[in-house]
């Protein structure tokens, strides 16, 4: 049986991990490769690196970060931030990403998703979808969340669930759905948003934005998410990934835990046969 994934997210700027509160007020929190290796040892199922300030000038930094993280990481790595073209995606994949996440560029030019899927396969293409709650609560869940782009700076008028469904048809193999309202608030995921997107697509859905407690992750999985992403609760070591997975397991959610229970995992680069 496929297990629920617990995914630490590294928000990276200029090759350093920072963390966002509503995408502003960033605070330095460490070295990407060191943090990724720590999370791997704690039982992370994959790692997401989002370059929160990816620009053409920042691209070299971003590729260097991906190479450094890849060299220590023996679990999947998704990278997003500023991906606008097949060439951008290819550069990240060649540097060591397993999947690339596309956000603004996919809204501006949805066929990019198809181009990426045709070239790299749907399993390499993640749609990152940022949304906020809007409008009339009687309009139904699908009409109650609007997609935002440019790190939340621009509203699109697109409904979250319809955009997710279209993106999956076009070639996105996974939807990473972030609540802009909840991000950094520590008030839990937007379960309505997650449930609406999870119902709308046949591909896996990753919940993001607002997690502060293992209960929040459990609630998102019960709302229909296939994976849960969080940043600050892991960065601050409030709750280790291991502890979170034990909590999920205790509540009947299948998670990967054998690696951890059989023996502690030394850092990958120190392992010899």
């Amino acid at each position: 049986m496929l297990t629920a994934r617990v995914i630490p997210c590294l928000d990276v700027q200029d090759a350093r991990v920072v963390k966002g509160v509503r995408f502003a007020g960033l605070r330095d929190a460490g070295d990407p490769a060191g943090l990724a290796a720590r999370y791997q040892d704690e039982g992370a199922d994959e790692v997401v690196v989002l370059d929160v300030a990816a620009t053409p000038r920042g691209r070299a930094h971003q590729l260097g970060t991906v190479r450094a993280v890849r060299s220590v990481l023996g679990i999947p790595l998704t990278v997003g931030g500023g991906v606008r073209s097949r060439a951008d995606a290819r550069a990240l994949l060649e540097a060591g990403a397993d999947r690339v996440a596309v956000n603004t560029a996919a809204v501006r030019r949805p066929e990019l998703l198809t181009e990426l899927a045709d070239e790299f396969g749907v399993q390499c293409v993640v749609l990152a979808l940022d949304a906020r709650a809007v409008g009339d609560p009687r309009a139904g869940a699908a009409g109650r969340h609007e997609v935002l782009i440019r790190s939340g700076g621009e509203a699109t008028g697109l409904g979250a669930a319809p955009w997710a469904a279209r993106a999956a048809r076009l070639g996105a193999g996974e939807i990473l759905v972030t609540s802009h309202d909840r991000d950094g608030t520590r008030s839990g995921y937007d379960l309505e948003l997650i449930a609406a997107v999870a119902r709308a697509v046949p591909v896996p859905v990753v919940a993001s934005g607002g997690a502060a407690h293992p209960e929040h992750l459990l609630a998102a999985l019960r709302a229909g998410a296939d994976a849960v992403l969080a940043a600050s609760i892991f960065h601050d070591a409030e709750h280790s990934i291991h502890a979170v997975k034990e909590h999920l397991h205790a509540h009947g959610v299948p998670v990967r835990r054998a690696d951890r229970l059989l023996r502690p995992i030394p850092p990958m680069h120190d392992v010899s046969c």
Binding site: T3, D45, I75, G121, G173, I265, S272, C273
Partner: protein, 208 residues
Amino acid sequence: MSRSVAVDVHVVQTGVANLASVEAALARAGARALPTLDPAEVRDSARVLLPGVGAFGQAMAALRAHGLDQALRGRIAADRPTLAICLGLQLLAEASEESPGVSGLGVVPGTVRRLPDGVRVPQLGWNTIEAMPECTWLRSGCVCFANSFALREPPHGWRCAMATHGVRFVAGLERGAIVACQFHPELSGRVGHELLCRFVAAGTRAPC
């Protein structure tokens, strides 16, 4: 195995991007990845890894364009250490629903089929595999998948590991020195690392 002895693994470069994860994982297992499109190398070298990201039809076309289909069949017939990953496993089969009308390498009987509706496709993440007790390469454990297609029937003449995602499917195959994984050992943490170490040690005297 001593870290100081670099073991070479020739990696078939079918033109589809992303060998970086495989190369990094081989490095952690003490091996050097050497990308190749040379049929003689693919047929005769000590260890060959057939990776696979991309579509069945494209990958078979790339193999045929370089004469690597015959080289791989020859290599497998001669039982030289070979590790096929993800699409690499599917390419060993006769055909795939992903690319109707395209013949696979035909080393493994059966047709690869799309995973069923009713579960998330692609299958992304960690799933439990059960290896037959007689398996020598594959071990039961939790490993990492990223696939929309899979072989469903255990093929005659091969030892198997099986898993379930909506339907039972072949998670791994082995026969002699040939091992094929529907999962990604390079992304499967310690379990995957240990499999790569066993493969890297193939044909050397070092125990692993």
